[in-house]
């Protein structure tokens, strides 16, 4: 595990762009038939191996953006490229972790983790991976448990490795820790960092939690609602492992919080002290 790896902006610029969002607009109709711009002319590019967090108040289009990148939805205007190719549908190369762990309840933990391999017809070659990923998720001994028999944190770890077993180029994470208590959440944050560092998978994480964004990512993208736009992108240069109590961390966190205010957005309730 290379926990001492530093993350600075300049050398990463040389790496290829994995996800490119170009002037994307996505409108929904509300109950009365009026158009709501969930995303308005949004552009963002993410390079290989980057860890990017999307942060912003509820309804600013974070999930919409992630679903577009995944290919679960299509924009009305603009274009999304993955490895230079236009996104036309889903692909196992762009993994997705949902807010609720979303494990298939009728499959055991082991079957859930093996799902991607079996669905793609490569299970026989990669059979050994399943046990390895089980261990990685700290779920040894729970192979035969059903999702309702494990805790929320365990379920999220299982969902994480279920996506990673396909070795995706990008992992899209939609508030995977939103429903967890703070200890389980910190535990999962460590796991996520560990997996990111050992696989080098590009991560795009949606979160409500400023601390989480600053702790994990190389760049924090701040979004504002109505219409959903990117208002600010803040680079977090500090090296890993990061210390949540350090002066640098607090300083960064306050910078993000201030940008949040300047962007005219209400910060999440837990920061309004």
């Amino acid at each position: 595990m290379d926990r001492g790896k530093t993350e600075t902006a300049s050398p990463a610029d040389a790496l290829p762009v994995v996800v490119e969002v170009k002037n994307v607009t996505r409108e929904f109709r509300d109950g009365r038939g009026n158009g709501v711009a969930a995303l308005d002319n949004v552009s963002l590019s993410v390079r290989q191996g980057e860890f990017v967090s999307l942060i912003g108040p509820s309804g600013c289009g974070k999930t919409s953006l992630l679903r577009l990148i995944a290919g679960l939805d299509a924009p009305q205007a603009g274009e999304i490229l993955a490895d230079g190719e236009p996104v036309t549908g889903t692909s196992y190369e762009r993994g997705y972790v949902f807010q609720q762990a979303n494990l298939f309840p009728w499959e055991t933990v082991e079957e859930n983790i093996a799902f991607g391999l079996k669905a793609r017809g490569v299970y026989t070659e990669h059979r050994a991976d399943v046990a390895e990923y089980l261990v990685m998720a700290g779920l040894k001994g729970f192979e035969r448990a059903y999702p309702h028999q494990i805790s929320g944190g365990m379920a999220q770890r299982a969902a994480l490795v279920r996506s990673l077993i396909n070795r995706p180029r990008v992992l899209l994470l939609d508030e995977p820790m939103g429903a967890l208590d703070s200890f389980t959440r910190m535990d999962l944050q460590e796991k996520l960092l560990e997996l990111w560092q050992s696989f080098g998978t590009t991560m795009i994480l949606v979160t409500h939690d400023i601390d989480e964004a600053v702790y994990l990512s190389g760049r924090v993208v701040i979004m504002t609602p109505r219409p959903g736009r990117i208002s600010e992108i803040i680079g977090i240069g500090s090296p890993f492992p990061r210390n949540r109590g350090s002066a640098v961390f607090v300083e960064l966190r306050n910078r993000v919080l201030k940008k949040f205010h300047l962007a005219g957005a209400e910060p999440p309730a837990e920061y309004a002290i």
């Binding site: 309840p105 009728w106 799902f115 669905a119």
Partner: protein, 321 residues
């Protein structure tokens, strides 16, 4: 606190005794009072003796405590009441002749018939079971397959769902004339009727079950690399199993009624056939005997289906103990 729990315990024990005593009392009364009609009372006495011993043993074992003892404690009042009912019924019928014959025979007469004609009953049970198994299996199979097709594919839904909605409200029995024309013999007619009556409830709930599967399961599966057919097999069908069983439970009751009625109209065996025959002879004790046996048979079938369901649905929350 201690005191009140002690009182509770005592009252509980009294109720547990109440589960046993009526059967013993009924047995004693049956032996003491001579019958006013001619009846072989031995089978009824044997039944009462068996029940007395059975509940007595459960009562004794329940002194040890545990979940089984608690279940017995909860059921005790009801078991006792059934014993009282046996006693009263016996006295009012065979012992005094208050209940008019032949329409209301006593428990001793019914037990006599069940015992004396056990060979015939066993045969009729097998006959009914064979018919039920064939019809119900065909019906649930067609029902789940068509339900899955309708729930999965918009095109099947478009063409079949309205048909099913209309066909589903027609009682299978109403189709007797039609089925009789199409089918070569009475057995296949009865099988078809049972199958039809099971088909629609299963198909309906299955289709609805697939529609109600959380959309994100399909999205997750697609992102993980599943194609349509794989999602059908691994998401839609397993996700619909609870709904299929809801349909099966509904269908079981309907299929039982269809079974009995279709046996009454021209079968050459089975419990429905037997009831019809006994009615013709004005032999009401036999009618009731067949009804009792039918109840026991159907409860066994329901228990078996429930067992299969619990097996298949161990992944569901709250189903496993």
């Amino acid at each position: 606190m201690k005191r009140s729990s002690r009182v509770l315990f005592n009252s509980c024990s009294i109720w547990k005794l109440f589960a046993v005593l009526p059967y013993a009392a009924a047995l004693a009364l049956n032996i003491l009072i001579p019958p006013v009609i001619e009846v072989d009372e031995l089978p009824f006495r044997a039944l009462l003796a068996v029940l007395t011993v059975y509940f007595g043993a459960r009562c004794l074992f329940s002194l040890r405590g545990g979940p089984r003892a608690e279940a017995f404690g909860r059921g005790a009042r009801f078991y006792g009441a059934v014993g009282v009912l046996f006693m009263v019924w016996d006295v009012l019928s065979s012992k005094t002749g208050v209940l008019p014959l032949p329409f209301f025979p006593g428990p001793a007469q019914i037990m006599e018939v069940i015992f004396r004609e056990r060979g015939v009953h066993a045969m009729n049970c097998l006959y009914s079971l064979r018919l039920f198994a064939a019809g119900f299996a065909a019906g649930t199979l067609c029902g789940s397959v068509s339900g899955i097709l309708i729930g999965w594919s918009d095109r099947w839904h478009y063409w079949l769902f309205p048909v099913m909605k209309v066909a589903g409200v027609i009682p299978a029995i109403a189709l007797v004339p039609l089925v009789l024309i199409v089918m070569p013999d009475t057995f296949s007619t009865a099988v078809t009727l049972v199958a039809l009556s099971a088909w629609f409830p299963v198909a309906f709930t299955t289709a609805r079950g697939i529609h109600s599967i959380d959309r994100t399961y399909f999205e997750a599966a697609r992102i993980l690399g599943a194609n349509d057919f794989y999602m059908l097999r691994k998401i839609a069908i397993p996700g619909a199993v609870p709904a299929i069983f809801t349909g099966i439970s509904t269908a079981t009751g309907i299929a039982f009624s269809t079974l009995v009625v279709s046996e009454m109209i021209g079968a050459r065996g089975g419990l429905g056939y037997y009831i019809n025959l006994a009615m013709g002879w004005m032999n009401y004790a036999s009618v009731y005997a067949a009804i009792v046996i039918m109840a026991i048979l159907f409860i066994s079938v329901l228990t078996a289906i429930n067992g299969i369901k619990n097996r298949l649905l161990i992944w569901q929350k709250g189903l496993v103990k």
